[in-house]
Amino acid sequence: MNPKVMIWISVALSAIAQIFLKNGLTKVQSRNGGGRSVTRLAHGIVSEKFIWLWGLCFVAAMGLWLSGLQKLDLSYAYPLVSVGYVLVTILSLVFFQERVDRRRWLAVAVISLGVTLIAGS
């Protein structure tokens, strides 16, 4: 597989993983009710399926990332992570019904332009 393709898939998986993580931690926290017990918190985290989904995406993204990074500059590959911000904005809109205003869309456009420049560098 082309190292650049590996990096792009890895970045997309990471963004999806962030959504799973946020969802999972929010669920654990609300179920825990602000308790201070570490074992209860650990149990809550381990038994939350969204945390496991996050772990799965995280491991797959990491494997692809390492293989891709082997052939590419770190200063080339790492900034491409910012595509994640564009994806997270869109996914937050879809799954958490977060409001996305004009300034946020402008920010998404500026980041996308930046990523396009980096991808061609």
Partner: protein, 154 residues
């Protein structure tokens, strides 16, 4: 009576300790400490990972995809870098549980600047003007997001 006295003396030092010395969860309980620690670990971890990857022996062309993906995981520097990076992820999780992602994400753009600078200085990567411009736009875009999230409406 004896049990009561013993429990009283046992409790006293631990109460005192809570006032004077802070535990790690308490330190990471401040979102900006957790965030700063995550930035430090993520940047250092990635530099070590890339340094390890640069030192890997090239694989023969006919080797399978799975072996190619697993190959880096057996390098000590890569594994150490991954561990440091994972520590960064744990700190990031602590920060995320205290502040919104939309607030923390833009701040983490400092990672891009630090990694680009360190790749140039330590890994001798050649960074074009175009790449610098791209990174600058990414940082600008992320602060545009942050301003909105910080002011809470304009």
């Amino acid at each position: 009576m004896i049990v009561e006295a013993a429990s009283a003396t046992a409790c006293e030092p631990s109460d005192e300790r809570e006032v004077t010395a802070r535990t790690l969860p308490q330190i990471l309980g401040k979102w900006w400490v957790a965030f700063a620690a995550s930035a430090l670990f993520v940047v250092c971890g990635h530099l070590l990972i890339k340094a390890g990857l640069n030192g890997l022996a090239p694989l023969p062309a006919d080797i399978g995809f799975a072996a190619r993906v697993l190959h880096p995981v057996f390098d000590l520097q890569v594994v150490m870098g991954l561990c440091i990076y994972l520590m960064g992820t744990v700190c990031w999780m602590r920060a995320v549980s205290q502040k919104e992602i939309s607030f923390l994400y833009p701040l983490s753009s400092i990672n891009f600047v630090l990694i680009a600078a360190a790749s140039m200085v330590l890994l001798q990567e050649v960074i074009s003007i175009r790449r610098i411009g791209g990174i600058a736009l990414v940082v600008l875009g992320m602060f545009l997001m942050n301003k909105k999230a910080g002011s809470g409406g304009a």
